[in-house]
């Protein structure tokens, strides 16, 4: 039960971000140096722990090891004739990391993680860089893992990270939690980044797999972190609720063959009850704090689905009105399409089809496969088989993930048989 490798892996997952966050502060904002010394500490643990036994406080041990590596580094650098005196650097590192007794005093200070989260999600960085930096620095994902998740080459991603870190240094993006008056604006950016990570994992835009559970889980971890760091922010609670309520359905959403299972056909016994309960509680908390934003409405929609024992018990009327509100809060063609689908369920396919036709006429979703797919589904329900088949074929010409393609092909086949 004290397998050093397993413990090290757990500590890496749970504490990597916090270690890096603290070291960045100690090293005066030097991201890459902080990452290096933390990685060196993990490497040291990998050889020492099997030999000498796992320390009682593994994270505190790693913290001390990283701190010593940082001091060594400073000494080496000062011998090489850097301007800043060795004593000065060592003093700063020691001061920054002052309370590291055997216990875990530093762990009780969440400020460093919060600082790191806000710095990674600084609006002066491109949104792809924000996502990559957050996954790299806070979750400890490797460059290869992040590259794979976003379907870019490791070289491209490495370059993106280097550029972002260089910009943090040269433009002097501060390693701080923003002042109260800027906090709301900046929190919005952080939440948007987390939302992007989650959405990419939940509905991959490209590639063989439909869901990237790992990405969803990392986003959830970051949201949980943000939630613990900003406990009184209603929007943070809403986003956390939204992620939990969606992620709880992950096992039911993908069939054994990797195909997509829509909400109405999902086996609801596969839903993660514990996660649903947590999501509902988070939504309650958000509403109690006065949350009324886009994430809140989306979470409320997910909650209504979660609360229906069977698909036919779904409160579509309320969902349709929530989508209507979402169309005002965060207008966009995808929201409008979801609204049309909800209206079709609440008031019949003909009314939904009218909204979809409006959307199609606006030309705003010309390349989006879900528009003809939604149209096809409504036409099918109205018994207009030939038109439905044509719409499915148009959707097939636009679809990009393999499981969704199979899903559409199956619907088209069903149509022919029926």
């Amino acid at each position: 039960m004290t397998d050093p490798a397993a413990i090290l892996e757990r500590v890496h997952r749970e504490d990597y971000g916090r270690l890096v966050a603290t070291l960045i502060r100690a090293l005066d904002g030097d991201f890459s140096a902080a990452e290096e010394v933390v990685q060196e500490a993990f490497t040291a643990a990998l050889t020492q722990w099997p030999r000498e036994g796992v320390p009682r406080e593994p994270a505190a041990w790693l913290m001390r090891a990283a701190r010593n590596k940082a001091v060594d580094r400073a000494r080496r650098a000062s011998r090489l004739g850097t301007r800043v005196g060795e004593l000065e650097v060592v003093a700063r590192i020691e001061q920054a990391l002052a309370p590291i007794p055997d216990g875990a005093g530093w762990q009780s200070v969440p400020d460093d993680s919060l600082r790191l989260l806000f710095t990674c999600c600084h609006p002066a960085l491109s949104s792809e860089s924000q996502v990559a930096l957050a996954l790299r620095c806070l979750c400890g994902l490797t460059t290869e893992e992040i590259a794979r998740a976003f379907l870019v080459s490791p070289a491209t991603l490495a370059q993106r990270l280097v550029r972002a870190q260089r910009k943090i240094r040269t433009a002097r993006i501060p390693y701080v939690v923003p002042e109260p008056e800027a906090l709301a604006e900046r929190t919005e950016g952080v939440l948007h980044t987390l939302y992007l990570v989650f959405s990419e994992g939940y509905a991959a835009t490209d590639g063989p797999a439909l869901l990237r559970v790992d990405l969803c889980e990392e986003a959830l971890r970051l949201a949980r972190l943000a939630r613990s760091l900003l406990p009184r922010d209603a929007e943070v609670a809403s986003l956390h609720a939204l992620m939990l309520l969606h992620h709880a359905r992950r096992r039911a959403r993908v069939a054994a063959d990797g195909g997509l299972v829509l909400l109405d056909r999902q086996d609801r016994t596969l839903w993660d009850r514990e996660q649903l309960a947590e999501g509902l509680a988070e939504l309650e908390a958000a509403l109690a704090m006065g949350a009324r934003g886009g994430y809140t409405v989306q979470a409320a929609i997910a909650a209504l689905h979660a609360q229906a024992p069977r698909a036919e018990d779904t409160d579509w009327a309320q969902i349709a009105s929530l989508y209507e509100r979402l169309c005002v809060l965060t207008p966009g063609p995808v929201v409008a399409l979801n609204h049309a689908a909800a209206v079709a369920m609440a008031r019949g396919p003909a009314q939904g089809l009218a909204l979809v036709d409006d959307l199609e006429a606006s030309g705003r979703l010309a390349d989006y496969h879900l528009l003809p797919a939604a149209r096809a589904d409504l036409l099918r329900r109205l018994g207009r088989v030939a038109e439905a088949a044509a719409a499915y074929r148009r959707a097939l010409a636009l679809v990009r993930t393999a499981p969704e393609r199979r899903f559409l092909e199956e619907r088209l086949r069903e149509l022919g048989a029926g």
């Binding site: 004739g81 301007r83 002066a124 040269t170 433009a171 002097r172 993006i173 701080v176």
Partner: protein
Amino acid sequence: MKYLLMIYENEKAFESLPEADVQRVMGEYATFTEALHSSGNFVAGEELEPTTAATTVRIRDGKRLTTDGPFAETREQLGGFFLVEARDLDEAIGIASRIPSARHGSIEVRPVREFTPPEA
């Protein structure tokens, strides 16, 4: 640390403003510049003549080429700048957002490269 705040605006739109609006904008700039002086952030700042007064110079194959106009034709043109001293990017962004032209044009915030002096 120094940041150059470059003010980009559609100069045609600015030129067609009625006199009263021009006076109002000038007043806003005077107030802003004064505040920048008293906060200690001001290093330098100027308004530029429009790009119709611009000349571009290049040396190619050892020969000097002088042409009329700015280097690139864009929708917004560099119309002025402030050079400020700021603690970090967030302070510089805060200053940039108070420049009157930020409300219709855009401000590019660029850190000035710092060269470390050679060791004694």
